[in-house]
Subunit: 327 residues, 2 copies
């Protein structure tokens, strides 16, 4: 099934079930009002939502209405945990090579992960407010999972069983603020401030068999200002699968239902597939020509991220957002 | 007023109003079930809770019962934001000097802050499960605030108006894992895994005038295995006040209602006041004798943290917890 959350002026919005082809939707009222409620009580509530989903897909849901992605909040608008990992090694290798930086210790053994805050997650069409163009606004288009409860010390293979839903995500990165924060050593608070999510979150069975042991074998279509910049495979070059990312995160603490974990920018070893972060494009330019020529995002710039199944259909709907200056 | 959350087998527990002297309590049922509900709608709900608090304090609440801190979850058991800052510069100076490390850039201008996850906050008497004694289990006894909504770019003085409640906190730090994580550069995911909070969270007017422009002029009583190790002033040496910590955090993003922000380990320039983290004690030993002699916490070790007002009464109740190996 596919789940979305409509804006309704409340903090957590109103939960919807969305049809497989993203054309119609139905409020989940009577089952649950919010996605967090469902995640908190998944075994009881998800079968009821699955029934509603089946009715909707077979055209039998009585109060179905056309689905409008622009009315969506993030599927989970507030999360108790939002972290993203560097699962695609080619992305980090390029950035490190261009910066002539040493690879971090255990680079190929343990994923690097950024702990972020989940209190204000953006919907797919929400504007991204950035205080200054000088901050070097970048995107990191990626795959994300929403989990159930994972006890402390859960191993990678067992962690896969705790994955409830999949989404697309865009982590907004303010690249010019990052070196200073990294040098100070306490993590990226100001340089990784916001993230946006696809209109719908889907169960693993909605991927048409593309979910394969913690990796998602789909093509990520990424456009910047209407120009296609990435057509990357989100599965094949994922060095650390989602079970490994989750295990890294819950090594010394439990993860609660509704934790969101992202893969980091999707990246392929084959550079001709394009990119999912400007920093990677600039790194390749630096390696090829001695300097970066592609600029970061400006106010008014747009980003569109979508994943299509083998049948050509959009699986999650599109993240389609603009960079804006604060009012 | 003073608010607490009793365990009831649900994820968010049951909200209580607690009497000023911490002797009795009353369920907030009929007003709100959880603290997050109150924070989401503070202007509407807090006056109702204040009325109940007044009844309770004057002995007129009909269904009052004795308050038992051991039954408490954290006042806010799940938070969408939990970050802590290095507001007490003497703590960080000692650690840096002992490690012969260079002070981070802008050390005296901008607080260093760690972004943590708030999905699993511990109650005051919950055991702290640590996988191995070799990880070097340490505490960081500190003051924490719970906020209302703060827009992106809120300035320090304005941020003070967004503070709703005060608590005590203990951030569990696995010191032996920290150098490696710091060297990898992506923040402390595994080395700062858990945090515990005092039985009650209190409004600013409950401090007997000790709240002074973002600092709390109370003495923090800290005992380790029953031995007093700290009797520090939580106000005077706080270099960055809570408004500054909050402004640092919401520079590039909004902070939502229910965000928790901690001060970092309370520390005084006058070392005779003792310590609120073993790392600081070990740093002073290293500076004095060339090596640290105090060990980190072992399984079964206990920590007690309490703040007392000028009248000698406990303001928040005590964090009183033990280190445990996983079952």
């Amino acid at each position: 099934m596919k789940l979305a959350t409509y804006k309704d002026a409340s903090r957590d919005g109103q939960l919807l079930v969305v049809s497989r082809d993203l054309s119609s939707a139905h409020y989940a009222t009577g089952i649950a009002n919010t996605l967090q409620q469902v995640l908190d009580d998944w075994r009881f509530m998800s079968p009821q939502l699955a029934d509603l989903s089946e009715q909707l897909n077979s055209g039998k849901a009585r109060h179905a209405f056309p689905f409008e992605p622009a009315r969506c909040m993030a599927p989970l608008p507030r999360a108790y945990q939002w972290a993203s990992g560097g699962a695609f090694i080619s992305h980090l290798e390029r950035l490190n090579q261009a910066a002539e930086a040493k690879l971090p210790r255990n680079f190929y053994a343990e994923p690097l992960m950024h702990q972020s805050a989940g209190g204000h997650l953006l919907g797919p069409c929400d504007e991204v407010e950035v205080a200054s163009e000088a901050f070097g606004t970048d995107f990191e288009a990626q795959i994300a999972v929403i989990t159930g409860d994972l006890p402390m010390g859960t191993k990678p293979e067992a962690a896969l069983d705790g994955i409830r839903l999949l989404m697309l995500a865009n982590q907004v990165v303010l690249r010019q603020l990052m070196p200073d924060e990294l040098a100070r050593g306490a993590g990226c608070l100001q340089s990784r401030p916001l993230a946006a999510f696809s209109p719908v979150a889907v169960t693993l069975d909605e991927t048409g068999g593309a979910w394969r042991e913690g990796r998602l074998d789909l093509t990520l279509h990424t456009s910047w200002n209407g120009r296609k910049v990435g057509l990357c495979d989100a599965g094949s070059d994922m060095t650390f699968h989602f079970g490994q990312l989750l295990a890294q995160l819950c090594k010394n603490r439990p993860l609660g239902a509704g934790s969101i974990v992202g893969s980091g920018a999707v990246s392929n070893a084959d550079w001709s597939r394009g990119y999912n972060s400007i920093a990677e494009k600039r790194a390749v330019e630096t390696l090829d020509n001695g300097k970066a020529s592609t600029r970061f995002m400006k106010f008014g710039d747009s980003l569109c991220v979508e994943a299509k199944g083998k049948n050509g259909q959009s699986v999650f709907g599109a993240i389609d957002q603009k960079i804006a200056s604060p009012e």
